[in-house]
């Protein structure tokens, strides 16, 4: 079953092609994209199970032995991320049934979503650094189009910032890849790792590593490179914002973790204090941005930034516990934040607004929605025993154990309080507060039963996930800890790719 590794690329691409062929028939496209998303999830789940049983898998594109061809590798981290991404893809595909305007479908919403998934899965699975660039671009161009498609003023303003800043990142990434090739003469990540470990003098490597860090940092939206995110994410339709928030920045974080644990480990270890400083600042600036907002989608967008800080903290602490915690955190935040965005989408559909001043009375009128939102919000804020608590626990624990990173731990704790504060801000204003006279909730917009459930079921699925991995975290945590150990001692990875012990 070596070709198992190709399926996460082939399935979304085939689905996209099928959707393109069925261009005029939107009903058919919906069915195709649902089936494709479902198949992708199955393939990803099988892949994850296989990796868990057999260890790191690798396969060479075109059958050309590494480091000459392009290698696809699945270790636990990448398999888990593919699985989560596929799950999100399916959830959002269901949600899209209700929430996508005909205009979008007419212009290729479904194939674009599939291409986005292709880019995401490709980025997770590739073992070749230039190929990573290609998948980044695939993902990026699909996201550009999805973001700008509606053509409204806000979208245009958001898109221009998103596009320009991300293109800067791409240019830096590309330059870094080129220079790295000029130094090492290879593009295969495992091969690079092997060579850089053997070489004594670092030469220009730290500068190259900086270029990579900045390029990925922009994609991951860390401080002070995150500006494009709060400027643009909230302007897209809810399903699009959700998949962006769930996957795009996480791919940036994935790349940071992957490249810096595998290839530039020495540099990462040397920069530890700076990385932690970036993590702390990202958390604080992000959460303060959220606290300042009075509109649900903007508030949540700033939270994405803040949560990225925690992931970077896991990378900066560099212990198995912290890295395992960061991976768990990634799964958690994808589920919880997406649930919040989807719930916000329901609020928007039910009331026509997401502005806190105009909202109110939802707790009374929409108890189910209120419950889903509350659970997801508490999970995000890290209230035990929901998933966010365990995620934060590992990071804080690891920070305290290390004995000299107390400051970032204090920041992480403080930020989680501010997260709680900003979540209650939404909760109190949109749900608890009474309906606003002349506001939006006086006359709830009618939603057909089918549309309601097409939106509520995906939201509930994600909320249930945060509850489940919170109450019973062991299976996932065991996986994350194993994945972290694989990252920190990448011998298995290198062996799987090159067939030689490093």
């Amino acid at each position: 079953m070596i070709n198992l590794l190709f399926l996460p690329l082939v399935i979304p691409l085939a689905t996209a092609v099928a959707c393109l062929l069925a261009w005029k028939n939107q009903g058919l496209q919906r069915i195709i994209s649902l089936i494709g998303s479902f198949l992708l999830l199955i393939a990803a789940a099988v892949l994850l199970v296989t990796v868990q049983q057999d260890g790191v898998l690798s396969v060479q594109g075109g059958g050309w032995a590494a480091p000459f061809g392009i290698t696809l590798v699945a270790d636990l981290f990448s398999a888990l991320m593919v699985c989560v991404a596929a799950g999100m893809g399916l959830v959002v595909a269901i949600y899209s049934l209700a929430d996508t305007e005909a205009e979008y479908e007419r212009l290729g919403y479904h194939p674009l979503m599939q291409v986005l998934m292709l880019g995401v899965c490709g980025s997770f699975l590739t073992g070749d650094i230039f190929n990573l660039y290609v998948w980044f671009e695939t993902m990026l161009i699909a996201s550009f189009v999805l973001l700008a498609m509606g053509g409204k003023r806000a979208q245009m303003e958001g898109a221009i910032k998103y596009v320009v800043l991300n293109l800067i990142a791409s240019a830096l990434f590309l330059a870094a890849v080129g220079i790295l090739y000029g130094v090492a003469g290879t593009l295969n990540m495992a091969d690079l790792a092997r060579m850089l470990r053997e070489s004594e003098s670092s030469g220009p490597i730290p500068v190259i590593a900086i270029l990579f860090f900045i390029a990925f940092g922009i994609k991951a939206a860390v401080f002070p490179l995150f500006f494009w995110l709060p400027a643009s994410y909230h302007t897209a339709p809810m399903a699009v914002t959700t998949i962006f928030s769930a996957l795009l920045t996480k791919v940036g974080v994935y790349a940071l973790i992957r490249i810096f644990t595998l290839v530039f480990f020495a540099e990462l270890a040397a920069w530890q204090p700076y990385v932690l400083a970036i993590a702390g600042l990202t958390m604080v600036i992000g959460v303060l941005g959220a606290v300042a907002q009075d509109e649900m989608r903007r508030l949540l967008s700033f939270h994405i930034v803040s949560q990225i800080g925690y992931l970077i903290m896991g990378l900066g602490l560099l212990t198995p516990l912290a890295l395992g915690g960061a991976i768990y955190f990634m799964v958690h935040v994808i589920a919880a934040k997406s649930a919040l965005f989807l719930a916000t989408g329901m609020v928007l559909r039910l009331t026509g607004t997401t502005e806190l001043k105009k909202l109110g009375g939802l707790y009374r009128h929409q108890p189910l929605l209120a419950g889903l939102f509350l659970v997801a919000a508490l999970a995000l804020a890290g209230i035990p025993p929901l998933s966010g608590f365990w995620a934060k626990l590992a990071l804080i624990w690891s920070g305290l154990e290390s004995g000299n990173h107390y400051l970032v731990v204090a920041v992480a704790l403080l930020v989680s309080l501010l997260t709680l504060f900003s979540m209650t801000k939404i909760w109190a204003a949109a749900f608890w507060k009474g309906a606003v006279v002349n506001g939006a909730t006086d006359t709830p917009l009618p939603l057909s039963r089918r549309v309601y459930w097409q939106m509520a079921v995906p939201t509930a699925l994600l909320t249930a996930t945060t509850v489940l991995i919170g109450l019973w975290p062991e299976p996932l945590y065991a996986l994350c800890m194993d994945a972290a150990r694989q990252l920190l001692v990448p011998d298995a990875y290198i062996f799987a790719v090159l067939g030689v012990q490093p």
């Binding site: 070596i2 070709n3 190709f6 082939v10 691409l13 393109l20 062929l21 594109g61 075109g62 059958g63």
Partner: protein, 136 residues
Amino acid sequence: MSSIILSTTIRLLLPLLLLFSVFLLLRGHNEPGGGFVGGLVAAAAISLYALAEGVAAAHRILIVNPRQLIASGLLVALSSGVIPLMTGRPFQSGLWLPYSLPVLGHVGTPLLFDLGVYLLVAGMALLIVLSLMEEE
């Protein structure tokens, strides 16, 4: 735009250019050329035609929509990768016919892949150029 000289020249040039683009595609594996350049030349030929005869006329001689060109290009490229999968080999492995064909020479899935690239690039360039021209 509808100068008679341009129009006539284009009519004569169009088949030649298209033929040249296919030539570029086919020899690409051995000499300079390939799907990209071939596709771009094909697109250029039709764009010139559109310039001379109007966008509608260009659509007419294209028969298929540029979007369908893109879709079929992707389909061809993808299937060239999937065919080896069926035989249990890695995605995009080169499979070659054991004998040479006349004109085409040695044929294998990489050539099929290049054909996909050709179709897609032609479709892409046409879709962009024609939708920009349509706005005039």
